[in-house]
């Protein structure tokens, strides 16, 4: 009996030694992979996709229906469009200020309302444009920029905490939008209006996907081709040091908020075009929370400083993928947020520094305790032999 126990113990200790060797070989590449800042966001996205492949075998199928690409992936990318655009702006705001812009949803509503007002004039439902389409888009975007500028002035020049400063438009924004549209939902029946949010005739890809990717590219270029990215990170890491090396911290902060406002305007126009109407009570509802989450899921620090646009993009798609997956698993819409929250809690905890540190310590402890314990087992084995 004892001999069996000893053999089992020996077997295990051998197994552990093999495991250790394997680990020591793999350690450097593993550390490289997991040390990369995008490791966890990518891991999460992969996990969500794997889950989808298991539950829906036709996940990767893409077909053309009614002249449009359709399938799971195009639909996730389409639905993530507005969130993705908003997330880009949110990334900059969080990086530069360590705070968040809560007012992006209401800014979407304001921008869309201005656009709708110009297009429909005094009519609530019409298919004739009262003003040039381009002019209406421009005014809508301008409204977004102005809202962003308001937030920017509050935060950078008046030194109000970003959350409080943007709470003003968060509270008032939808009412302002209703004021513009006289409290009515505006229906824009002209098919041209749907170009932005649905499809441009002849193009087989949803415009939302194209526009959101276009802005990903634009913002990436803005950050990489100018030194805006470096400025934003410097100001976010250490405002007073940034000032002493000659950066205008206030102007950089202001700019980030203006860009965020502009992008919210774009998202507003895309969103309202998608449904062919302007409903300021619904448009971009609670999108700010998803955007903040997307930034966090992308491995960006919410206390400002370094940021990664790629991370945020992955974050935004991950959130949308989770939502779509849950729907595909027949989760009831009113239960959706519970499951979403559960998944996000797990992800956020797993990517937190403390958790990572604990895991590292745990692994180290296991590895360092094994040689001792294996020696012990032989000693114990020796004793039992004597017995």
């Amino acid at each position: 009996m004892n001999k069996v126990v000893v053999q089992i113990k020996r077997f295990f200790s051998r197994l552990i030694v093999i495991f250790q060797r394997l680990f020591s070989i793999l350690e450097t590449p593993l550390r490289k992979i997991f040390g990369h800042k995008l490791a966890i966001p990518l891991l999460v996205l992969t996990a969500v996709i794997v889950q989808n492949i298991i539950s829906t075998p036709n996940f990767f199928d893409i077909s053309i229906k009614n002249g449009l690409l359709s399938g799971y992936i195009p639909s996730i990318m389409d639905e993530a469009g507005e969130l993705l655009i908003i997330t880009l702006g949110m990334t900059l705001v969080i990086a530069v200020s360590g705070g968040v812009d809560l007012s992006v949803g209401p800014i979407m509503a304001i921008a869309a309302s201005f656009c709708g007002l110009l297009l429909n004039g005094s009519e609530y439902r019409t298919d004739v444009f009262q003003n040039p389409y381009i002019l209406a888009l421009f005014i809508g975007l301008l409204a977004g920029v102005l809202c962003g500028a308001f937030n920017g002035i509050m935060v950078s020049y008046l030194k109000i905490q970003p959350m409080i400063a943007t709470l003003i438009l968060f509270t008032a924004g939808r009412s302002i939008a209703k004021l513009i549209t006289h409290g009515q939902t505006i229906y824009i029946m002209n098919p041209v209006y749907k170009y932005l949010g649905v499809q441009i005739p002849g193009v087989p890809i949803r415009t939302t996907i194209l526009i959101s990717l276009l802005f990903v590219i634009l913002v990436t270029l803005l950050v990489k081709l100018t030194s805006l990215g470096l400025y934003v990170q410097s100001v976010g890491i250490n405002g007073s040091a940034a000032r002493l090396v000659g950066l205008n911290s206030n102007a950089v902060k202001f700019m980030a908020f203006v860009i965020c406002g502009l992008l919210a305007g774009v998202a507003g126009l895309v969103g309202s075009s998608g449904v062919g109407s302007v409903n300021s009570g619904e448009l971009g509802m609670s999108i700010e929370m998803d955007a903040i989450l997307a930034v966090a899921l992308g491995g960006n620090s919410l206390s400002g400083g370094k940021f990664s646009i790629a991370g945020s993009v992955i974050g935004a798609y991950t959130i949308q993928a989770i939502t779509t997956t849950l729907y595909a698993m027949n989760v009831r819409p009113d239960q959706l947020n519970v499951f979403k929250a559960l998944i996000i809690v797990v992800i956020i905890v797993a990517s937190s520094e403390i958790f990572k540190e604990r895991i590292k310590r745990l692994i180290r402890r296991i590895l360092s305790s094994i040689p001792k314990s294996s020696k012990k087992t032989t000693v114990v084995g020796g004793c039992s032999d004597e017995n």
Binding site: L225, T226, S227, L228, L230, Y231, Q233, S234, I237, N238, S240, A241, A242, R243, L244, V245, G246, L247, N248, G305, K306
Partner: protein, 513 residues
């Protein structure tokens, strides 16, 4: 009666053979200190002398490695700040540690409010507060909110709070550093009052005038060791300063200098300040000329306004008054960027808080100032930036794993070199180096000193601040001396020796010695 004289003869609080070390540094070595009842005892020393460590040992923030503390002859153990308070030792720190949004009375009794039936007895508290304030001659209303009081009153309330915890010994850590002359007088009145009522006070300050005005005895520390304990009336200012700096006046000899003799030619100075001052009165208006190819040292004790002076040239603090000429042209410099564009560079004293961008890479830290100078749209390409970074890593022999290493993972000396590289890259004509060698290993220190001399020989004008006298004497061709936030003198090449500098820093009666 007999007992009272005993108290005065025998120190009430004695610390013997105190030693304390931290990993890598020995902060205190065999230090003795004693405090009588009813005296004001100055604890003096330059940066890193061990004053605050000694105070923290006494108040239980740190535990000592060796030595003993005796209170009225009885050996005591102070385990924590709370414990120190129980033993009757209270501390008031430089920054007021009170709650600005509570009332004066609430602050005085916070955590030990008079209670009746479990609730705070507000009336009783206010009455007690009124009594306490009257007793100490503090003109504040107990129901006023604390932040409506001036800083001096707040400081006095902090003292009152400390005294109220039945304190026998009071430690005042630079209580006067942010006060004006009138406010200082009021604090002193309060201190004298406490002294008369038998409280022993340890007073830490950088202002020599104040020491001579109010203190009875002085204990001087240097590099964690006790220099000595003196009666104020027996120690001249000159002796005090030389003891703090560690140079005996008798033995002073001019050090051989590596510096080249640079005679400022009769050309327009690169920088000329006329009546310049920071608007917040951190430094009195001063005149200054800086020429090409010279290293000008700024000497003075800590808190003498050295940093504030150079910061006002660079536009580091808002609202500057007075006139500044750059290469003879009148310039208004309101923000660092305009200073950089005029060819200035500034290495700040506090590397962590104002220097490094900790999470960014070495490369980004090096190019950031040049990038700011160029503007946002003319981005320095990755390739170019890597070239610059490599160049300066080699030039200054910065020890880093690579250009992409986050700067926070470098050692202090190498971080400092990164900041130097950042400024050299902008090719400045006038460099302000505020304590560039602080907290840096000896090897790097000499490297930086050599670099300073080399830069000057290349024609740059350098303003150099250091707490180490030797270092400045070795490198500077001219010395501006500061005392109590005022420029008090300027020593040219032939006059730069330690005794002269110390005499000028000590000022006043020092020259009569």
């Amino acid at each position: 009666m007999n007992k009272q004289t005993d108290d005065i003869q025998n120190p009430a609080l004695t610390m013997n053979g105190i030693g304390k070390s931290f990993p890598g540094v020995c902060a205190l070595r065999n230090v003795n200190f004693n405090l009588r009842r009813g005296e004001i005892h100055a604890l003096m020393g330059e940066n890193g002398a061990g004053k605050s460590t000694l105070v923290k040992v006494l108040t239980g923030v740190y535990s000592m490695d060796c030595g003993s503390v005796r209170l009225d002859g009885k050996s005591i153990m102070i385990k924590s700040p709370q414990d120190a308070q129980k033993q009757g030792i209270s501390t008031v720190y430089q920054e007021v540690n009170l709650c600005p949004n509570l009332t004066v009375a609430e602050n005085l009794f916070l955590g030990r409010e008079p209670r009746s039936m479990g609730l705070i007895a507000w009336r009783k508290m206010n009455i007690q507060a009124t009594e306490l304030l009257r007793e100490l001659n503090i003109s504040a209303s107990p129901t006023a909110q604390l932040d409506s009081c001036s800083i001096a009153i707040q400081q006095m309330i902090a003292i009152a709070r400390a005294v109220n915890t039945k304190c026998k010994f009071l430690i005042l850590d630079e209580p006067t550093s942010s006060l004006d002359a009138d406010e200082v007088r009021r604090i002193f009145a309060l201190m004298r009052h406490l002294k008369e009522s038998g409280v022993g006070i340890i007073f830490i300050t950088h202002f020599l005038e104040q020491v001579y005005e109010i203190c009875d005895r002085i204990t001087v520390l240097r590099n964690g060791e006790l220099v000595g304990e003196y009666e104020v009336r027996n120690l001249s200012r000159l002796e005090l300063v030389s003891k703090m700096m560690g140079k005996e006046i008798e033995n002073l000899s001019v050090l051989s200098s590596e510096k080249e003799k640079v005679k400022p030619a009769d050309e327009t100075p690169i920088i000329e300040a006329v009546g310049l001052s920071s608007g917040n009165a951190k430094v009195a208006p001063f005149d200054l000329k800086m020429y090409k190819g010279e290293v000008v040292g700024f000497a003075g004790l800590l808190g003498s306004g050295r940093s504030e002076l150079v910061r006002s040239i660079y536009g580091a603090d808002k609202s500057v008054i007075g006139k500044l000429y750059v290469r003879g042209k009148a310039s208004r410099i309101k923000k660092p960027l305009s200073a950089i564009k005029k060819g200035m560079a500034y290495l700040p004293e506090d590397r962590k808080a104002e220097g490094i961008l900790s999470e960014l890479s070495v490369r980004e830290n090096i190019v950031i100032a040049l990038q700011a100078k160029r503007g946002m749209l003319r981005r320095i390409s990755r390739k170019e930036a890597e070239k610059y970074a490599d160049e300066y890593i080699k030039l200054l022999s910065i020890k880093t794993a690579g250009t992409e290493t986050p700067v926070k993972s470098l050692s202090g000396g190498n971080q400092q070199k990164v900041i130097l590289a950042r400024w050299l890259l902008t090719n400045p004509e006038f460099m302000i180096l505020d304590e560039p060698t602080r907290g840096i290993d000896v090897g790097t220190k000499t490297e930086i000193q050599r670099l300073i001399l080399k830069l000057a020989s290349e024609g740059k004008s350098i303003a150099f601040i250091s707490s180490e006298m030797d270092e400045m004497i070795r490198t500077c061709s001219r010395m501006v001396v500061m005392r109590d936030r005022r420029k008090v003198g300027e020593l040219s090449e032939e006059n730069i020796d330690q005794s002269m500098i110390i005499r000028t820093i000590a000022g006043g009666d020092g020259n009569n010695e």
